[in-house]
Structure formats: C-alpha cells, structure tokens
Symmetry: C2
DNA sequence: TAGATTGTTAATCGATTAACAATC
DNA sequence: TAGATTGTTAATCGATTAACAATC
C-alpha cells in the first residue's frame, strides 16, 4: 500500500508536494472536529485552493475518494503523513554558527518537526569547542567525519553567502541528501539533492518593493498611512 | 525618470519582482569587477536564469539596453535599487516574542537590510515590560498605539499559528502595509496588503518528502547513504 | 561593414480550473 | 431513485524560452 504510493510518487509535481503540509494541517483540524470524511470542496476551502486542484493532487498521490461521499479523513492523514515522513527523524547538522545559526541551534521547532540537531559546525577557531545549547561546535575541517558519525541526512547552511557553495559541495559529497539554505546564494547541486531556500534578505527586499508601491499609492489617493 | 519606472510598475509580474534581488546582487558583484556594461547572457548566467527572461524582466521595468553592447551596470543598479527601496528604512514591529520572535529581535540582518526593529509586542504579562536587546516588550493591547507611535510599516508575525490571523487583522486596520508571516497559517488580507510567508515548518516537511524518496532510491540502487 | 546583442513575437511548457459524465 | 461528489477531460492562464529582425 505504502509501496503503491511510492510508485505513484514519480508523477507528483513539486506544486503538489508544496501543498501537502497545508492539507495535512487542515485534516488534523478536521479530525479534531470528529469529521470522518471530507469533500474536496471543504478541503479546498480550508487550504485556500480550488476543489479541482485538491482532487488532482490526491489522485496524483494514488489516493481515491468515494463519489458522493468524499475522502476518508484518517486515511488521508495516514497517507500524507507517510509521504511527508512525519514519524521519521532526520538528523541535522548546522553549518555556520553566527547570529542565525545560533538562533536555529536553539530553535526547538526543528526537533519538534522530526529534525533533531545533532551537530554544529563552524570555521572560526574561537567558536570551535564552545558549547551552544547541548552541543559543542566542531571545526569545518571535520565536516565529513561529523556527517558520518551522526548519520546526518539534512544540512542547514547558515554561513556567509560566499561560502555556501563550498559547504554545499562538501555536504553533498559526504552523502547528505537534503539542504536547507539560509543564505542568499543560489546553490548548484546534483539533481538527486533537494535544496530548499529560506532567504530572509530576499523576502525583505521583495516586501520593500511592494511597500514602496503601496505607500506611494496611498499618498497619491490621499489614504492616510495611519488612519 | 523614476516616475517612468513607477508607471511601468503596473506591468511588473510577481515572478519578475522575486528575481530583482538576485539581479541586484549579481550586478553589485559585476561592478566590483569594474564591469561597466553587461549582456543579458552574462546576467542570466550569474543569476541562474535565461537570457530571454532577463531581457523581458528589464523591459517590463522600463529599462532599455543598447543593442550590440548590453545594459549599463550602474544604471541597472540605480534603477533596481530604487525599485527595491534599498536606501529607505521601513520601521518594523515584531509580534510574538517567543523562541523565534526573540531570535528575530536579535537578528542584525533586519536593520542592515533597511528594516529597523522599533517595537516588540506580546500578549504574555510575564514578558511585557521585560527588555529584549534594546527594546521593552509592549502588550498586545497597545498594538494600535505602537504602530502609530513608531510609524510601523512592516509587521512581523511570530505568534502561535492560531493567533496569526487576529494579529494580522489588527495590524492591517492600524495601517500596516506589509506583513512577514512566520507562522504556518495562510493569512487572508486585503489586496492592498502584501504578505510574504517564511514557513520553516513547511519547508522542513517538503524537505522530508524528498529526503524519504532519495533515501529510498539510494537504498534500492545500492548507493550507500554515506560512501 | 561585421559582430554582438537587444527587444519582441510566437511557440512551448506546466499548472490551474471549469465542466461534466461516472458512480457512490 | 435523487443528491452529492469524484475522477478526468479540455480550456485557460501565466510564465518561460527559442528564434530572429532590428540596430548599435
């Protein structure tokens, strides 16, 4: 059964994958309301998308509903949870223990989501050997050993942008399959490696673009910034 | 001149806007190499996109190049910088001073990017009145006054997900034009308000999806996780 | 002029969504 | 059976990109 879904996996678009977390959250809400089945209409409403998109997404996961009734909530939770690996743990290493890396190292949300932080790595000799939370910072020279020793599957890159690619290369060749990139650098990696980027600086600049336009528009139409 | 661009602004797609920060970064790199002009080919290479996309993006900004020569680097930096408001400051309030909000409050990158944090707001009476960095935490009840007093233009929401919408509603009606949403909740706001979402939990779950697939594939083909 | 590169058209692509027959 | 809802086709949409005439 799980295997069926894994095979169907080949046809799952990245757009679908990015909606899975929202589906799962909506479903967990629904089950706490004692709902046993849900229509694509309702699920779409809860996730801010379109019923046809929901049906298409679920079909691509190999999940079938019942005409006239909808989808079984618990079955959906089980299958989507399986796909998202909610019950599995992926050991994490954070590379770059500056302002941001330190915040991430102390962020309980990571292990709460199945990503226990098992190692902290930096290149700064003053930092190496110091304790951050429960861990001792290791030297970048030991990156490959660290990955091996802790079975690291996910690398979080919080270095300065100009070092991100070099770190990524080493993580990848050490066998790390997933990277979470907090730098502004667009990483180049083999197809088999998945990179997600969380780029605060870029988000802020995009926000700034719209901010300028909105303020200009409000000024133009006489709408006060603060009513 | 700036006005020309502002008018052309109506036709700038969100996809184009999201590429502007990368263009700006690449251009700053190029100018430090003493390059005075750049072709769409080269700019595309530096930003990981396609030359035709670069030309189309720049045309939509009202920026023209010179056939046979390319685009003037300093002019590009000036115009894109203007659009992204790099020389302007947008005062920020952070709502929700938990683990994440505290990290953001201490994150120097915000003011470095033109987003000085001017106020911290929380609902917890034990937290209100305490100092975080240079600021004293204010009570959520005073949110509207805080926005007015500090001329807050950008709200960062780092509350629990179930309170995010209520906080957003109050920020919007107080006149805040941009929101940076760190919760898993999809906010509903008027069209005139821009929301960017930075959702670590969702990114991690998406990463987990690909992580499971990659590990399964490697196991299947006998490629070791750690070579 | 010859070579380079833009600006823009038209083709292509991928994702979304309306619509509806199938069927519970 | 009547009403509800799926599963899927076909239309639509928006964005990307190849191609090439215009032109520096």
């Amino acid at each position: 059964m799980s295997h069926q879904i894994e095979e169907a996996g080949a046809g799952i678009s990245s757009a679908t994958v990015s909606r899975l977390p929202a589906y799962l959250r909506a479903l967990v809400d629904l089950v706490s309301l004692e709902l046993s089945s849900v229509s694509s209409d309702r699920l779409a409403e809860h996730t801010g998308t379109n019923p046809a998109t929901v049906r298409r997404d679920l079909a691509s996961l190999g999940i079938v509903g019942t005409r006239g009734l909808g989808y079984d909530v618990r079955y959906l939770i089980h299958e989507i949870g399986l796909l998202l690996g909610v019950s599995e743990d992926w050991p994490v290493a954070i590379v770059g223990i500056g302002n941001l890396g330190r915040a991430l190292a102390n962020y309980s949300g990571l292990s709460a989501r199945g990503f226990p932080v098992r190692a902290l790595v930096d290149v700064d000799d003053d930092l190496v050997g110091t304790r951050v939370g429960e861990l001792i910072v290791e030297h970048l020279d030991r990156l490959e050993q660290v990955v091996r020793e802790h079975g690291i599957g996910v690398g979080i890159i919080a270095t300065p942008g100009n070092q991100a690619q070099a770190v990524a290369d080493r993580l990848v060749s050490a066998g790390v399959a997933s990277l979470l990139n907090f730098t502004e650098t667009a990483l180049v990696v083999p197809d088999s490696v998945e990179v997600r980027r969380v780029d605060l600086a870029t988000e802020l600049q995009i926000l700034s673009f719209y901010q300028r336009r909105t303020i200009a528009a409000r000024a133009g139409t006489g709408v006060p910034l603060v009513p």
